[in-house]
């Protein structure tokens, strides 16, 4: 019985599938995940996922409570031994997120990654990072400087402004994936 299991059951695709199944059955529409509003793969590629994060459970002092962001998750072929690449598609004003690219500076997504974490665990750490920005290695230097100077009111105002301005209003359904993509591009074009 231990024999028939092949290495094929250990491909990243299989594990992502298991994670997605577990996520969707553990968080049905009636009991959604507090922060991860949806997590779906692209119809053409299971290893590219999209997800919507909500900040409504974050402390009001952080300024992120009104935020709703679209994120893209790229799963490497070496997953779960290599971390997934998570980036903000929706612009976000945060000391540890690069404004231009949405790149996230988070230790558990880099050198402190562990296979136990999984995509959902990684996204939960990203949410935690929103509430607790680290000012030691900022990717958004201006935000880092604001926080380091102790201008919490200014930082919160800036964060709140961009949360409202850039808020992602689309939805991710597996069938309407293409539609929401286009919408997002159109939204960007307006600016």
């Amino acid at each position: 019985m231990s024999g028939p299991k092949t290495a094929s059951s250990r491909t990243p695709t299989k594990r992502i599938l298991t994670e997605l199944t577990a996520f969707s059955s553990a968080h049905s529409p009636s009991s959604p995940h507090p922060n991860i509003l949806s997590l779906v793969p692209l119809p053409s590629n299971l290893l590219s996922l999209r997800c919507i994060l909500s900040g409504h459970t974050l402390p009001p002092t952080s300024g992120y409570t009104t935020g709703r962001w679209l994120l893209s998750i790229q799963v490497p072929p070496q997953y779960p031994n290599q971390p997934p690449t998570i980036t903000f598609v929706t612009k976000i004003c945060h000391a540890n997120v690069k404004w231009e690219t949405g790149e996230i500076c988070l230790d558990v997504l880099k050198e402190n990654w562990t296979p136990v974490l999984g995509v959902v665990g990684a996204l939960e750490s990203v949410v935690r990072l929103l509430g607790e920005p680290g000012v030691d290695s900022p990717l958004n230097v201006e935000m880092g400087a604001l926080l380091r100077q102790g201008d919490t009111i200014g930082a919160r105002g800036l964060v709140g402004y961009w949360c409202g301005e850039e808020r992602f209003e689309g939805h991710l359904d597996e069938e309407e994936e293409g539609g929401s993509n286009r919408e997002e591009v159109r939204g960007r074009g307006k600016r």
Binding site: M1, R10, R15, P77, N81, N112, V116, R182, G189
Partner: protein, 443 residues
């Protein structure tokens, strides 16, 4: 057993399967029997020196990667891994029973019990007598606990008795209800019913066909365990190993020695991991099976996996086995739009040409710059949207353009006004986001 293995191959089973059944508490049991790295049931579970358990292959791959325990990040070495046989037996037993229990759990509760809640409790009780909650509540009132456990033993034993014929010279002790040798029954009672579990383990176990077969299986397994396991391969110090030595090692193992140095190292590392993980297994696989697994690795993570990245998508599309129909169906809208664009541009260019160039010598001279406006199709084709439809449907191509289209992987001429957009396309990571890319590129 067959059904269980089928489930394994074709269906994603998960601990959350239990959540919509009355046996929610089994989700915890299910989850505890799964490896945290592959999220599947443990196969050849190994315990680390920090007392975490993972599949042999998972932990070996993980240690190869960073040398730390995936659960607690404490440093760990492959040498220190030990088989967790108890876990293996548990997993195998649970896997065998899982499909049946799940099927049972999914049958809607029969309204025999007065309230629904009661029937749920009973259903849980039937299958899972020792859920932690029950045990704890039992402990608080110890008298009721002993009573109920005694009752359970009696029930289990009488079940087993119904189809059990004592031909091995044993009788049931009237006090402890255990089977005891007839000749020793008096001494047994005199001694105050000492535990003789060791003597008849299969009789005192709660009788069920599942445990029965499990016992039969392990008794068959015993001689198998005596079979000498294949010897582990030592790790190689790659920095001091020369190319030809590494290649020889690969060919000696019957593996391909193709690819660059980095790939050779990766392949040999994976081979050692697969081999050593196989050495831990109770039933080691044949070398041929391991080679097939390495083949899968090669396709998903090794040398051929890099070909699936978007930059080399063109190579895949040109492959003989590529599903052209599906691809063209999926991207039909985009192709149509591109064709329309190309037609428009070609028309515009032609009218421009006919108005400006009147002598044949001049029109021949402008034939080459003609190529430039149509290059966006080629550029996009490079990025993945290359398709025969596009090539054939573009109207009235001059010979020079035709040649250009056929060599779709050649670089566009530097004069192309779309050259600057190339970077944007190259940066684009996912094939599926092509749609958005194309839109943003179009002027």
């Amino acid at each position: 057993m067959d059904r269980a293995s089928k489930d394994d191959a074709f269906e994603v089973t998960d601990s959350t399967d239990w959540l919509d059944t009355p046996m929610k508490s089994l989700a915890g049991v299910d989850a505890a029997l799964r490896c945290q790295v592959c999220r599947d049931f443990y196969s050849t579970p190994m315990i680390t020196s920090c007392s975490h358990t993972f599949c042999s292959l998972c932990i070996r791959r993980s240690l190869n990667n960073d040398g730390k325990c995936p659960a607690c990040r404490s440093p760990e070495q492959e040498m220190k891994l030990r088989n967790n046989n108890a876990m293996e037996d548990l997993v195998e037993a649970f896997k065998r029973g899982r499909a049946d229990i799940l099927a049972f759990a999914r049958i809607p509760a029969i309204p025999v019990a007065p309230t629904r809640k009661r029937s749920l409790e009973q259903a849980e009780e039937d299958v899972e007598d020792s859920s932690p909650k029950r045990r704890r509540s039992g402990r608080t009132k110890s008298s009721s606990q002993t009573k109920s456990s005694q009752k359970a033993t009696v029930v289990a034993d009488s079940d087993g008795d119904s189809d059990y014929s004592p031909e091995d010279g044993t009788v049931e002790c009237p006090i402890c209800q255990r089977r005891v040798k007839e000749t020793g029954i008096n001494k047994h009672i005199d001694d105050g019913c000492p535990d003789e579990l060791q003597a008849f383990p299969h009789i005192t176990k709660p009788g069920s066909s599942r445990t029965g077969s499990g016992y039969a299986k392990s008794s068959i397994q015993l001689p198998e365990k005596a079979i000498k396991r294949p010897e582990r391969l030592p790790q190689l110090n790659y920095s001091t190993t020369k190319d030809n030595v590494l290649k020889k090692k690969l060919t000696d193992a019957g593996l391909s020695a193709g690819g660059n140095r980095q790939l050779l190292e990766k392949r040999y590392k994976e081979w050692i991991t697969l081999w050593n993980a196989n050495c831990d297994a109770t039933k080691p696989k044949s070398k041929g099976e391991l080679k097939r697994e390495l083949e899968i690795w090669e396709r998903t993570q090794g040398g051929r996996a890099t070909a699936s990245s978007s930059t080399q998508m063109g190579a895949i599309i040109r492959d003989k086995e590529f599903d052209r129909d599906a691809w063209s169906g999926k991207h039909n809208d985009d192709f149509k739009q591109l064709i329309a664009n190309a037609k428009r541009k070609a028309q515009a260019k032609k009218s421009e040409n006919t108005s400006s160039a009147n002598t044949p010598a001049e029109s021949a001279g402008t034939a080459t710059p003609d190529v430039a406006p149509t290059t966006p199709d080629v550029v996009i084709g490079d990025n993945g949207n290359d398709d025969p439809i596009l090539i054939e449907d573009t109207p009235e191509k001059p010979a020079s353009q035709k040649r250009f289209f056929d060599e779709s992987n050649s670089d566009p001429p530097p004069s192309s006004q779309y050259q600057s957009k190339l970077g944007v396309l190259d940066k684009d990571a996912g094939l599926a986001s092509d749609i958005t890319t194309i839109r943003s590129v179009q002027p």
